[in-house]
Symmetry: C2
Subunit: 238 residues, 2 copies
């Protein structure tokens, strides 16, 4: 992941719409040119974080960053419209491991999903590790980054999506529900499952019935099991 | 993974059947006590490798290893009889990434497999990383380590198993074949697929039909898709 620092290089990168993961601004720094950068970042949907100057020193590898450091993304994020047009959307509610994020993106693309949605905070973002684990799928599948998963679920519901949440206590087995179209599948983060508010936004909570003595699967494996069941039924229908 | 060195500690560990990943013996080293250790290791099914003394120095962190270093395993391997009694066995033909091996073990256990089989060479073995990725499943699911996958397939075939190989060019879709019982599912290593000889030992080669522009899934995701299809049909039958 490329790291840029200094007023001029960062402003240029933003103007040329370089994929950017986030912008760090030194606490207490100011001035019109820095403000312009902050405005550019916000318009481009790049998260802006105010952090101690020492954190920026560490990131930039020197103190000559003029109060601003930009962390490049491996890939450009897509607009939410990319998701709204899809028949199947995968939303990750806080997946933190980049290998898991990459494997889910790869799996979602192979199952026919039209977009993957990830939250801005407390979640892996599109780094090179993710791109590698996605094995090329990032070139084809739009990834949308949103401020809150809840608001995105509300917006997609208004557009006619049915929201299916995967939850180990879900009331229906994934292979026994009807998948109404268009479908959103929401998956929780590693070992934590869905957030309470996200769970409440789901139309149906589904589970994967399991043999044996453990209660959950790796999130990318769980995604594969449910998404390929969706695909199996979907291709029978069409 | 614990590392033991020296004639006495290694002999003791072997006699007390301590889980062991492999035994390294310095090239040119000899003597009756060392020979006794080699015999013990072979009887216990622990692979013995003859390596330059400098390699042993590096592993042991000193040159006081008396020509023998043992690499402990996170878990004990099981006997092939554990597999022969199962209704579903997963065989990995050279999975090298320990996270993938752990995730496959976790998935196999959750789908109701009775054993996982891995080869001795050019494959991940049961390290702590694998145990962690298996999320507890290693406590419940026997893992068998074999010298060659081909011979194991022949042995299981004689005991009535049907061998299904997952292959991107497989002639049947995984969700359209009959799964005859007892079932072996063979999966290839990352990015390489099945070895030619292994492929020839399969009764049926199955594929996972995919949308999109990439041709394969992560091996643990692929295992999940096929194993849970097996489980889905199996629970309907019983």
């Amino acid at each position: 992941m490329a790291i840029l620092s200094g007023i001029h290089p960062v402003a240029e990168a933003l103007r040329s719409r370089h994929p950017m993961d986030r912008l760090l601004v030194a606490q207490g720094a100011g001035g019109p040119r820095l403000q312009e950068i902050i405005d550019l970042a916000r318009r481009a949907g790049v998260p802006v974080r105010f952090e101690p100057r020492s954190a920026l020193d560490r990131m930039a590898g020197s103190s000559a960053h003029q109060g601003v450091v930009a962390l490049g993304a491996a890939r450009q994020y897509a607009d939410i419209d990319a998701a709204a047009a899809a028949e199947l959307v995968v939303i990750l509610d806080g997946v933190e491991d980049p290998h898991n994020l990459g494997a889910v993106i790869r799996t979602a693309h192979a199952a026919g999903a039209g977009a993957v949605v990830i939250p801005e905070r407390r979640a892996a973002s599109l780094t090179d590790v993710v791109a590698k684990a996605a094995a090329g799928a990032l070139e084809h599948l739009p990834v949308v980054r949103v401020t809150t998963v809840n608001r995105t679920l509300e917006a997609l519901k208004k557009r006619g999506f049915w929201i299916y949440g995967l939850d180990e206590h879900g009331e229906s087995a994934y292979d026994e529900v009807e998948f109404n179209s268009p479908t959103v599948l929401v998956l929780g983060g590693e070992g934590k499952g869905l957030h309470e508010q996200v769970r409440k936004h789901c139309d149906i909570l589904v589970c994967i019935p399991m043999a044996g003595k453990i209660s959950s699967l790796n999130v990318s494996v769980a995604a594969g099991v449910v998404l390929f069941e969706w695909k199996r039924r979907h291709s029978k229908r069409s």
